[in-house]
Symmetry: C2
Subunit: 282 residues, 2 copies
Protein backbone atom coordinates (compact mmCIF):
# COMPACT_ATOMS: atom_id res chain seq x y z
CA UNK A 1 0.00 0.00 0.00
CA UNK A 2 1.19 3.48 -0.91
CA UNK A 3 0.47 6.38 1.46
CA UNK A 4 0.26 10.13 0.85
CA UNK A 5 2.49 11.83 3.41
CA UNK A 6 3.01 15.60 3.31
CA UNK A 7 3.06 15.80 -0.49
CA UNK A 8 4.88 12.54 -1.23
CA UNK A 9 3.61 9.08 -2.15
CA UNK A 10 5.55 6.68 0.06
CA UNK A 11 5.39 2.96 0.81
CA UNK A 12 3.38 2.08 3.94
CA UNK A 13 6.49 1.11 5.96
CA UNK A 14 7.98 4.59 5.42
CA UNK A 15 4.74 6.34 6.33
CA UNK A 16 5.73 7.40 9.83
CA UNK A 17 5.48 10.43 12.10
CA UNK A 18 7.66 11.54 14.99
CA UNK A 19 6.75 10.39 18.50
CA UNK A 20 6.82 14.15 19.23
CA UNK A 21 3.92 14.74 16.81
CA UNK A 22 0.98 16.30 18.69
CA UNK A 23 -1.38 13.96 16.86
CA UNK A 24 0.33 11.05 18.62
CA UNK A 25 0.80 12.91 21.93
CA UNK A 26 -2.66 14.47 22.35
CA UNK A 27 -4.87 13.51 19.39
CA UNK A 28 -4.30 17.13 18.29
CA UNK A 29 -5.73 16.85 14.80
CA UNK A 30 -8.72 16.22 12.58
CA UNK A 31 -9.66 13.57 10.09
CA UNK A 32 -12.11 12.69 7.36
CA UNK A 33 -13.13 9.27 6.11
CA UNK A 34 -14.86 9.10 2.76
CA UNK A 35 -16.05 6.52 0.29
CA UNK A 36 -14.12 6.19 -2.93
CA UNK A 37 -16.27 5.01 -5.84
CA UNK A 38 -15.31 4.86 -9.49
CA UNK A 39 -11.84 6.12 -8.51
CA UNK A 40 -13.23 9.34 -7.02
CA UNK A 41 -13.76 10.40 -3.41
CA UNK A 42 -17.51 10.71 -2.79
CA UNK A 43 -18.73 14.06 -1.42
CA UNK A 44 -15.17 15.44 -1.43
CA UNK A 45 -16.27 19.10 -1.26
CA UNK A 46 -18.47 18.42 1.76
CA UNK A 47 -15.70 16.57 3.60
CA UNK A 48 -13.23 19.36 2.79
CA UNK A 49 -15.69 21.98 4.01
CA UNK A 50 -15.98 20.22 7.37
CA UNK A 51 -12.21 19.78 7.59
CA UNK A 52 -11.76 23.50 6.90
CA UNK A 53 -14.28 24.47 9.59
CA UNK A 54 -12.57 22.17 12.07
CA UNK A 55 -9.11 23.44 11.14
CA UNK A 56 -10.28 27.04 11.59
CA UNK A 57 -11.72 26.13 15.01
CA UNK A 58 -8.53 24.37 16.13
CA UNK A 59 -6.35 26.96 14.37
CA UNK A 60 -4.44 24.37 12.32
CA UNK A 61 -3.46 25.49 8.86
CA UNK A 62 -4.22 22.95 6.10
CA UNK A 63 -0.88 22.70 4.27
CA UNK A 64 -2.36 22.17 0.75
CA UNK A 65 -5.04 24.03 -1.22
CA UNK A 66 -8.23 21.90 -1.46
CA UNK A 67 -7.91 21.49 -5.25
CA UNK A 68 -4.33 20.20 -5.02
CA UNK A 69 -5.39 17.84 -2.28
CA UNK A 70 -8.13 16.39 -4.47
CA UNK A 71 -5.59 15.74 -7.25
CA UNK A 72 -3.27 14.10 -4.72
CA UNK A 73 -6.16 11.92 -3.48
CA UNK A 74 -7.00 10.81 -7.02
CA UNK A 75 -3.32 10.07 -7.73
CA UNK A 76 -3.17 7.98 -4.54
CA UNK A 77 -6.26 6.01 -5.56
CA UNK A 78 -4.82 5.39 -9.01
CA UNK A 79 -1.38 4.45 -7.75
CA UNK A 80 -2.90 1.86 -5.40
CA UNK A 81 -5.41 0.71 -8.06
CA UNK A 82 -8.22 0.94 -5.54
CA UNK A 83 -11.17 2.65 -7.27
CA UNK A 84 -13.57 1.23 -4.65
CA UNK A 85 -12.18 1.94 -1.20
CA UNK A 86 -12.27 4.19 1.85
CA UNK A 87 -10.01 7.22 1.97
CA UNK A 88 -8.85 8.54 5.31
CA UNK A 89 -7.32 12.00 5.46
CA UNK A 90 -5.58 13.00 8.70
CA UNK A 91 -4.44 16.52 9.55
CA UNK A 92 -2.18 16.76 12.60
CA UNK A 93 -0.82 19.92 14.20
CA UNK A 94 2.68 18.43 13.93
CA UNK A 95 5.48 18.75 16.45
CA UNK A 96 5.99 21.64 18.84
CA UNK A 97 7.31 22.43 22.32
CA UNK A 98 6.11 20.06 25.11
CA UNK A 99 2.78 20.91 26.72
CA UNK A 100 -0.80 21.56 25.66
CA UNK A 101 -0.23 25.06 24.31
CA UNK A 102 -0.21 24.89 20.50
CA UNK A 103 2.18 27.87 20.33
CA UNK A 104 5.25 27.08 18.26
CA UNK A 105 3.64 24.07 16.53
CA UNK A 106 3.30 25.50 13.05
CA UNK A 107 4.23 22.64 10.72
CA UNK A 108 1.03 20.62 10.37
CA UNK A 109 1.18 17.22 8.71
CA UNK A 110 -1.28 15.77 6.25
CA UNK A 111 -1.66 12.06 5.59
CA UNK A 112 -4.01 10.16 3.26
CA UNK A 113 -4.43 6.38 3.37
CA UNK A 114 -6.69 3.94 1.55
CA UNK A 115 -8.56 1.08 3.17
CA UNK A 116 -10.80 -1.73 1.95
CA UNK A 117 -14.52 -0.89 1.86
CA UNK A 118 -16.72 -2.60 4.44
CA UNK A 119 -18.52 -5.67 3.08
CA UNK A 120 -21.75 -3.67 3.10
CA UNK A 121 -22.03 -1.21 0.23
CA UNK A 122 -24.72 1.25 -0.76
CA UNK A 123 -26.46 -1.33 -2.93
CA UNK A 124 -27.14 -3.80 -0.11
CA UNK A 125 -28.87 -2.78 3.05
CA UNK A 126 -26.97 -2.93 6.32
CA UNK A 127 -29.00 -4.17 9.27
CA UNK A 128 -27.39 -3.55 12.59
CA UNK A 129 -27.90 -4.62 16.17
CA UNK A 130 -27.38 -1.65 18.48
CA UNK A 131 -26.47 -1.26 22.12
CA UNK A 132 -26.58 1.77 24.41
CA UNK A 133 -23.05 2.66 25.52
CA UNK A 134 -22.23 3.68 29.08
CA UNK A 135 -19.83 6.49 28.10
CA UNK A 136 -21.43 9.95 27.73
CA UNK A 137 -20.69 12.88 25.45
CA UNK A 138 -20.58 16.47 26.73
CA UNK A 139 -23.80 18.24 25.69
CA UNK A 140 -23.52 21.47 23.68
CA UNK A 141 -19.76 21.18 23.19
CA UNK A 142 -18.71 22.97 19.95
CA UNK A 143 -15.63 20.72 19.59
CA UNK A 144 -17.95 17.70 19.11
CA UNK A 145 -19.16 18.97 15.72
CA UNK A 146 -15.77 18.37 14.17
CA UNK A 147 -14.17 15.05 13.35
CA UNK A 148 -11.24 15.38 15.72
CA UNK A 149 -8.60 12.77 16.50
CA UNK A 150 -9.94 12.51 20.08
CA UNK A 151 -11.99 9.35 19.77
CA UNK A 152 -11.62 7.44 23.02
CA UNK A 153 -15.28 7.86 23.99
CA UNK A 154 -16.22 6.35 20.62
CA UNK A 155 -13.65 3.57 21.01
CA UNK A 156 -15.01 2.66 24.45
CA UNK A 157 -18.56 2.71 23.07
CA UNK A 158 -17.60 0.54 20.11
CA UNK A 159 -15.91 -1.92 22.48
CA UNK A 160 -19.20 -2.28 24.33
CA UNK A 161 -20.93 -3.07 21.00
CA UNK A 162 -18.20 -5.62 20.20
CA UNK A 163 -18.64 -7.26 23.61
CA UNK A 164 -22.40 -7.57 23.02
CA UNK A 165 -21.97 -8.89 19.47
CA UNK A 166 -23.64 -5.73 18.15
CA UNK A 167 -22.56 -3.63 15.17
CA UNK A 168 -22.84 -0.18 16.67
CA UNK A 169 -23.24 1.62 20.01
CA UNK A 170 -25.49 4.60 20.71
CA UNK A 171 -24.18 7.37 22.93
CA UNK A 172 -26.07 9.58 25.33
CA UNK A 173 -24.98 13.12 26.07
CA UNK A 174 -24.64 14.49 29.60
CA UNK A 175 -28.27 15.73 29.39
CA UNK A 176 -29.45 12.12 29.03
CA UNK A 177 -30.48 12.28 25.36
CA UNK A 178 -29.38 9.73 22.77
CA UNK A 179 -27.44 11.87 20.33
CA UNK A 180 -25.38 9.74 17.96
CA UNK A 181 -23.59 6.44 17.55
CA UNK A 182 -19.86 5.75 17.80
CA UNK A 183 -19.17 6.34 14.11
CA UNK A 184 -22.55 7.30 12.70
CA UNK A 185 -25.33 9.84 13.08
CA UNK A 186 -28.69 8.79 14.49
CA UNK A 187 -32.14 9.11 12.89
CA UNK A 188 -35.50 7.82 14.03
CA UNK A 189 -39.01 7.95 12.62
CA UNK A 190 -41.93 9.41 14.57
CA UNK A 191 -45.35 10.12 13.07
CA UNK A 192 -43.91 9.44 9.62
CA UNK A 193 -41.23 12.11 10.05
CA UNK A 194 -37.48 11.55 10.04
CA UNK A 195 -35.93 13.10 13.14
CA UNK A 196 -32.25 13.62 14.07
CA UNK A 197 -30.61 15.44 16.99
CA UNK A 198 -29.52 19.04 16.35
CA UNK A 199 -25.80 19.81 16.12
CA UNK A 200 -26.02 21.88 19.32
CA UNK A 201 -26.77 18.71 21.30
CA UNK A 202 -23.10 17.80 20.81
CA UNK A 203 -23.12 15.61 17.69
CA UNK A 204 -20.73 15.32 14.78
CA UNK A 205 -21.80 17.32 11.73
CA UNK A 206 -21.95 14.20 9.56
CA UNK A 207 -21.56 14.66 5.81
CA UNK A 208 -23.93 11.72 5.23
CA UNK A 209 -26.30 13.15 7.89
CA UNK A 210 -26.66 16.32 5.78
CA UNK A 211 -27.14 14.23 2.63
CA UNK A 212 -29.87 12.12 4.29
CA UNK A 213 -31.81 15.26 5.23
CA UNK A 214 -31.50 16.46 1.64
CA UNK A 215 -32.54 13.09 0.19
CA UNK A 216 -35.60 12.99 2.48
CA UNK A 217 -36.69 16.39 1.24
CA UNK A 218 -36.27 15.13 -2.36
CA UNK A 219 -38.45 12.11 -1.51
CA UNK A 220 -41.13 14.27 0.09
CA UNK A 221 -40.41 12.85 3.57
CA UNK A 222 -40.70 15.44 6.34
CA UNK A 223 -37.60 15.94 8.49
CA UNK A 224 -36.99 17.73 11.76
CA UNK A 225 -34.39 18.08 14.47
CA UNK A 226 -35.29 16.80 17.91
CA UNK A 227 -34.05 15.12 21.06
CA UNK A 228 -34.97 11.68 22.34
CA UNK A 229 -34.44 9.59 25.45
CA UNK A 230 -33.51 5.89 25.23
CA UNK A 231 -37.00 4.70 26.30
CA UNK A 232 -38.65 6.68 23.50
CA UNK A 233 -36.10 5.59 20.91
CA UNK A 234 -36.92 1.95 21.66
CA UNK A 235 -40.56 2.72 20.66
CA UNK A 236 -39.83 4.70 17.48
CA UNK A 237 -41.38 3.65 14.16
CA UNK A 238 -37.89 3.00 12.85
CA UNK A 239 -34.23 3.78 13.61
CA UNK A 240 -31.33 4.20 11.23
CA UNK A 241 -27.78 5.46 11.15
CA UNK A 242 -25.77 7.34 8.55
CA UNK A 243 -22.03 7.13 7.97
CA UNK A 244 -19.71 7.85 5.08
CA UNK A 245 -18.18 4.39 4.92
CA UNK A 246 -21.48 2.46 4.69
CA UNK A 247 -24.14 5.03 3.82
CA UNK A 248 -27.33 4.01 5.65
CA UNK A 249 -27.59 1.23 8.23
CA UNK A 250 -30.96 0.23 9.65
CA UNK A 251 -31.18 -0.47 13.38
CA UNK A 252 -32.90 -3.84 13.85
CA UNK A 253 -32.51 -4.22 17.60
CA UNK A 254 -31.54 -2.09 20.58
CA UNK A 255 -30.02 -3.70 23.67
CA UNK A 256 -31.35 -7.08 22.54
CA UNK A 257 -34.94 -5.94 21.88
CA UNK A 258 -36.25 -5.73 18.31
CA UNK A 259 -36.86 -2.26 16.87
CA UNK A 260 -39.82 -1.42 14.64
CA UNK A 261 -38.99 -1.32 10.92
CA UNK A 262 -40.24 1.56 8.84
CA UNK A 263 -40.83 1.37 5.06
CA UNK A 264 -39.18 4.79 4.83
CA UNK A 265 -35.74 3.35 5.56
CA UNK A 266 -35.38 1.26 2.37
CA UNK A 267 -36.59 4.25 0.35
CA UNK A 268 -33.86 6.48 1.82
CA UNK A 269 -31.28 3.70 1.36
CA UNK A 270 -32.24 3.38 -2.29
CA UNK A 271 -31.97 7.13 -2.85
CA UNK A 272 -28.50 7.14 -1.25
CA UNK A 273 -27.33 4.16 -3.36
CA UNK A 274 -28.48 6.01 -6.49
CA UNK A 275 -26.42 9.09 -5.63
CA UNK A 276 -23.35 6.97 -4.93
CA UNK A 277 -23.83 5.17 -8.26
CA UNK A 278 -24.04 8.51 -10.08
CA UNK A 279 -20.72 9.53 -8.45
CA UNK A 280 -18.98 6.40 -9.65
CA UNK A 281 -20.42 6.68 -13.19
CA UNK A 282 -19.66 10.40 -13.44
CA UNK B 1 18.23 13.60 22.39
CA UNK B 2 17.84 9.85 22.81
CA UNK B 3 14.34 8.35 23.04
CA UNK B 4 13.11 5.07 24.52
CA UNK B 5 11.01 3.31 21.88
CA UNK B 6 9.61 -0.17 22.54
CA UNK B 7 12.66 -1.39 24.43
CA UNK B 8 15.36 0.38 22.41
CA UNK B 9 17.21 3.65 22.96
CA UNK B 10 17.13 5.44 19.62
CA UNK B 11 18.12 8.90 18.35
CA UNK B 12 15.23 11.39 18.24
CA UNK B 13 15.06 11.38 14.39
CA UNK B 14 14.48 7.60 14.38
CA UNK B 15 11.82 7.80 17.09
CA UNK B 16 8.79 7.40 14.83
CA UNK B 17 5.48 5.54 14.74
CA UNK B 18 3.36 4.41 11.82
CA UNK B 19 0.66 6.76 10.51
CA UNK B 20 -1.59 3.72 11.13
CA UNK B 21 -0.86 3.85 14.87
CA UNK B 22 -4.12 4.32 16.78
CA UNK B 23 -2.39 6.87 19.00
CA UNK B 24 -1.95 9.08 15.95
CA UNK B 25 -5.35 8.19 14.43
CA UNK B 26 -7.59 8.51 17.49
CA UNK B 27 -5.50 9.50 20.51
CA UNK B 28 -5.99 5.86 21.57
CA UNK B 29 -3.49 5.79 24.40
CA UNK B 30 -2.40 7.04 27.80
CA UNK B 31 0.50 9.06 29.08
CA UNK B 32 2.29 10.15 32.22
CA UNK B 33 4.49 13.19 32.74
CA UNK B 34 6.73 13.20 35.79
CA UNK B 35 9.53 15.25 37.29
CA UNK B 36 12.99 13.80 37.20
CA UNK B 37 15.17 14.98 40.07
CA UNK B 38 18.59 13.69 41.06
CA UNK B 39 18.43 11.32 38.07
CA UNK B 40 15.28 9.60 39.34
CA UNK B 41 11.65 9.92 38.29
CA UNK B 42 9.69 11.49 41.16
CA UNK B 43 6.64 9.53 42.39
CA UNK B 44 7.28 6.78 39.85
CA UNK B 45 5.12 4.20 41.66
CA UNK B 46 2.16 6.56 41.80
CA UNK B 47 2.43 7.42 38.10
CA UNK B 48 2.72 3.72 37.22
CA UNK B 49 -0.30 2.90 39.37
CA UNK B 50 -2.40 5.45 37.45
CA UNK B 51 -1.07 4.21 34.11
CA UNK B 52 -1.99 0.65 35.09
CA UNK B 53 -5.52 1.67 36.12
CA UNK B 54 -5.98 3.55 32.84
CA UNK B 55 -4.56 0.67 30.80
CA UNK B 56 -6.93 -1.76 32.52
CA UNK B 57 -9.86 0.59 31.77
CA UNK B 58 -8.90 0.99 28.11
CA UNK B 59 -7.84 -2.68 27.88
CA UNK B 60 -4.34 -1.88 26.63
CA UNK B 61 -1.61 -4.20 27.83
CA UNK B 62 1.52 -2.46 29.13
CA UNK B 63 4.31 -4.22 27.20
CA UNK B 64 6.93 -4.07 30.01
CA UNK B 65 6.83 -5.00 33.72
CA UNK B 66 6.85 -1.84 35.89
CA UNK B 67 10.26 -2.66 37.38
CA UNK B 68 11.90 -3.08 33.95
CA UNK B 69 10.31 0.16 32.84
CA UNK B 70 11.82 2.01 35.79
CA UNK B 71 15.27 0.68 34.88
CA UNK B 72 14.73 1.74 31.27
CA UNK B 73 13.67 5.21 32.46
CA UNK B 74 16.79 5.57 34.59
CA UNK B 75 18.98 4.38 31.69
CA UNK B 76 17.33 6.96 29.43
CA UNK B 77 17.98 9.75 31.95
CA UNK B 78 21.61 8.67 32.32
CA UNK B 79 22.17 8.31 28.58
CA UNK B 80 20.85 11.83 27.98
CA UNK B 81 22.68 13.20 31.04
CA UNK B 82 19.53 14.96 32.18
CA UNK B 83 19.18 14.32 35.93
CA UNK B 84 16.79 17.32 36.23
CA UNK B 85 14.12 17.03 33.57
CA UNK B 86 10.57 15.98 32.76
CA UNK B 87 9.90 12.44 31.65
CA UNK B 88 6.96 11.70 29.41
CA UNK B 89 5.84 8.11 29.02
CA UNK B 90 3.32 7.35 26.25
CA UNK B 91 1.44 4.07 25.85
CA UNK B 92 -0.40 3.69 22.54
CA UNK B 93 -2.65 0.81 21.50
CA UNK B 94 -0.55 0.46 18.33
CA UNK B 95 -1.81 -0.38 14.86
CA UNK B 96 -4.89 -2.42 14.04
CA UNK B 97 -7.66 -2.71 11.46
CA UNK B 98 -9.32 0.59 10.41
CA UNK B 99 -12.18 1.78 12.61
CA UNK B 100 -12.85 2.52 16.25
CA UNK B 101 -13.08 -1.08 17.41
CA UNK B 102 -9.85 -1.97 19.22
CA UNK B 103 -10.20 -5.63 18.16
CA UNK B 104 -7.07 -6.86 16.44
CA UNK B 105 -4.87 -4.07 17.79
CA UNK B 106 -2.74 -6.07 20.18
CA UNK B 107 0.78 -4.69 19.79
CA UNK B 108 0.84 -1.64 22.05
CA UNK B 109 3.78 0.75 21.81
CA UNK B 110 5.62 2.40 24.67
CA UNK B 111 7.68 5.57 24.30
CA UNK B 112 9.62 7.59 26.88
CA UNK B 113 11.06 11.03 26.13
CA UNK B 114 12.87 13.63 28.24
CA UNK B 115 12.16 17.35 28.20
CA UNK B 116 13.63 20.42 29.89
CA UNK B 117 12.05 21.32 33.24
CA UNK B 118 9.90 24.47 33.32
CA UNK B 119 11.76 27.51 34.68
CA UNK B 120 9.73 27.24 37.88
CA UNK B 121 10.92 24.49 40.19
CA UNK B 122 9.71 23.30 43.56
CA UNK B 123 12.02 25.69 45.39
CA UNK B 124 10.56 28.87 43.86
CA UNK B 125 6.90 29.62 43.99
CA UNK B 126 4.93 29.78 40.75
CA UNK B 127 2.34 32.56 40.62
CA UNK B 128 -0.13 32.19 37.83
CA UNK B 129 -2.78 34.33 36.19
CA UNK B 130 -5.83 32.19 35.42
CA UNK B 131 -8.70 32.45 32.97
CA UNK B 132 -11.97 30.54 32.75
CA UNK B 133 -12.05 28.51 29.53
CA UNK B 134 -15.16 28.25 27.37
CA UNK B 135 -14.77 24.52 26.64
CA UNK B 136 -16.55 22.17 29.09
CA UNK B 137 -15.71 18.72 30.40
CA UNK B 138 -18.33 15.97 30.67
CA UNK B 139 -19.37 15.59 34.32
CA UNK B 140 -19.06 12.18 35.95
CA UNK B 141 -17.22 10.62 33.02
CA UNK B 142 -14.98 7.75 34.24
CA UNK B 143 -12.61 8.20 31.27
CA UNK B 144 -11.68 11.67 32.60
CA UNK B 145 -9.87 10.20 35.62
CA UNK B 146 -7.13 8.79 33.41
CA UNK B 147 -4.42 10.68 31.60
CA UNK B 148 -5.51 9.75 28.09
CA UNK B 149 -4.07 11.00 24.82
CA UNK B 150 -7.39 12.80 24.08
CA UNK B 151 -6.44 16.33 25.07
CA UNK B 152 -8.15 18.68 22.63
CA UNK B 153 -10.40 20.20 25.29
CA UNK B 154 -7.28 20.99 27.32
CA UNK B 155 -5.46 22.32 24.25
CA UNK B 156 -8.38 24.64 23.44
CA UNK B 157 -8.49 25.80 27.05
CA UNK B 158 -4.76 26.43 27.14
CA UNK B 159 -5.03 28.42 23.90
CA UNK B 160 -7.54 30.68 25.60
CA UNK B 161 -5.06 31.21 28.46
CA UNK B 162 -2.30 31.97 25.91
CA UNK B 163 -4.52 34.50 24.15
CA UNK B 164 -5.22 36.26 27.45
CA UNK B 165 -1.55 36.24 28.50
CA UNK B 166 -2.44 33.92 31.40
CA UNK B 167 -0.54 30.84 32.56
CA UNK B 168 -3.41 28.42 32.97
CA UNK B 169 -7.10 27.97 32.13
CA UNK B 170 -9.78 26.63 34.46
CA UNK B 171 -12.40 24.28 33.02
CA UNK B 172 -16.02 23.90 34.02
CA UNK B 173 -17.83 20.60 33.69
CA UNK B 174 -21.24 20.23 32.05
CA UNK B 175 -22.88 20.74 35.50
CA UNK B 176 -21.37 24.25 35.66
CA UNK B 177 -18.78 23.57 38.36
CA UNK B 178 -15.11 24.55 38.04
CA UNK B 179 -13.38 21.19 38.23
CA UNK B 180 -9.78 21.44 37.12
CA UNK B 181 -7.34 23.35 34.96
CA UNK B 182 -5.94 22.35 31.57
CA UNK B 183 -2.92 20.54 32.98
CA UNK B 184 -3.37 20.84 36.71
CA UNK B 185 -5.76 20.01 39.53
CA UNK B 186 -7.62 22.78 41.31
CA UNK B 187 -7.64 23.60 45.04
CA UNK B 188 -9.18 26.50 46.90
CA UNK B 189 -9.30 27.57 50.52
CA UNK B 190 -12.58 28.16 52.36
CA UNK B 191 -12.83 28.67 56.13
CA UNK B 192 -9.19 27.67 56.47
CA UNK B 193 -9.81 24.32 54.76
CA UNK B 194 -8.22 23.13 51.52
CA UNK B 195 -10.94 21.95 49.12
CA UNK B 196 -10.67 20.13 45.77
CA UNK B 197 -13.32 18.64 43.47
CA UNK B 198 -14.02 14.92 43.87
CA UNK B 199 -12.86 12.54 41.13
CA UNK B 200 -16.50 11.74 40.30
CA UNK B 201 -16.98 15.31 39.07
CA UNK B 202 -14.90 14.32 36.05
CA UNK B 203 -11.36 15.36 37.00
CA UNK B 204 -8.00 13.76 36.38
CA UNK B 205 -6.75 11.69 39.32
CA UNK B 206 -3.61 13.82 39.67
CA UNK B 207 -0.59 12.24 41.33
CA UNK B 208 0.37 15.65 42.76
CA UNK B 209 -3.29 16.21 43.79
CA UNK B 210 -3.08 13.08 45.99
CA UNK B 211 0.28 14.24 47.38
CA UNK B 212 -1.11 17.71 48.23
CA UNK B 213 -3.95 16.13 50.22
CA UNK B 214 -1.40 14.00 52.08
CA UNK B 215 0.93 16.96 52.73
CA UNK B 216 -1.99 19.01 54.10
CA UNK B 217 -2.85 16.25 56.54
CA UNK B 218 0.82 16.16 57.62
CA UNK B 219 0.73 19.94 58.18
CA UNK B 220 -2.50 19.72 60.20
CA UNK B 221 -4.49 21.56 57.49
CA UNK B 222 -8.03 20.23 57.07
CA UNK B 223 -8.96 19.02 53.58
CA UNK B 224 -12.23 18.10 51.95
CA UNK B 225 -13.73 17.39 48.56
CA UNK B 226 -16.31 19.81 47.24
CA UNK B 227 -17.74 21.55 44.22
CA UNK B 228 -17.58 25.24 43.40
CA UNK B 229 -19.03 27.65 40.85
CA UNK B 230 -16.88 30.33 39.20
CA UNK B 231 -18.45 33.20 41.24
CA UNK B 232 -17.61 31.46 44.52
CA UNK B 233 -14.09 30.55 43.39
CA UNK B 234 -13.37 34.22 42.70
CA UNK B 235 -14.15 34.93 46.40
CA UNK B 236 -12.15 32.03 47.92
CA UNK B 237 -9.48 32.72 50.57
CA UNK B 238 -6.89 31.36 48.14
CA UNK B 239 -6.59 29.27 44.97
CA UNK B 240 -3.80 26.99 43.86
CA UNK B 241 -3.08 24.30 41.31
CA UNK B 242 -1.06 21.10 41.45
CA UNK B 243 0.81 19.46 38.59
CA UNK B 244 3.69 17.03 38.30
CA UNK B 245 5.90 19.27 36.18
CA UNK B 246 5.79 22.31 38.49
CA UNK B 247 4.43 21.06 41.83
CA UNK B 248 2.27 23.84 43.27
CA UNK B 249 1.29 27.04 41.45
CA UNK B 250 -0.61 29.78 43.26
CA UNK B 251 -3.46 31.49 41.41
CA UNK B 252 -2.95 35.25 41.68
CA UNK B 253 -5.75 36.42 39.39
CA UNK B 254 -8.82 34.99 37.69
CA UNK B 255 -10.11 36.52 34.46
CA UNK B 256 -8.14 39.69 35.22
CA UNK B 257 -9.34 40.13 38.82
CA UNK B 258 -6.95 39.56 41.72
CA UNK B 259 -7.52 36.48 43.87
CA UNK B 260 -7.08 36.48 47.64
CA UNK B 261 -3.77 35.01 48.82
CA UNK B 262 -3.78 32.53 51.67
CA UNK B 263 -0.77 31.95 53.97
CA UNK B 264 -1.53 28.23 53.66
CA UNK B 265 -0.30 28.12 50.06
CA UNK B 266 3.40 28.89 50.77
CA UNK B 267 3.31 26.32 53.60
CA UNK B 268 2.06 23.61 51.22
CA UNK B 269 4.57 24.72 48.56
CA UNK B 270 7.39 24.43 51.07
CA UNK B 271 6.29 20.94 52.15
CA UNK B 272 6.17 19.84 48.49
CA UNK B 273 9.63 21.28 47.76
CA UNK B 274 11.00 19.37 50.77
CA UNK B 275 9.62 16.06 49.48
CA UNK B 276 11.09 16.70 46.03
CA UNK B 277 14.45 17.54 47.59
CA UNK B 278 14.41 14.29 49.59
CA UNK B 279 13.77 12.38 46.30
CA UNK B 280 16.75 13.97 44.61
CA UNK B 281 19.07 13.42 47.63
CA UNK B 282 17.94 9.83 48.13
Amino acid sequence: MIVFLDGELVPEELAVVSVFDRGFLYGDGLFETMRVSGGRPFLWQEHMARLERGAAFLKIQIPFPADDLQKHAEALIQRNQLPEALLRLTLSRGTGPRGYSPRGADKPRLVMTLHPTPVTDGAHSAQWSLVTASVRLPAAEPLAQFKTCNKLAQIMARSEADAAGAQEALLLNTDGFVVEASSSNLFWITDGKVVTPPLVSGVLAGVTRAMVLELCRGLGIATQEGTIRPEALAKAEGVFLSLSSVGIAEGVSLDGRPLARSPLVPRIEKAYADVLLRNSAR
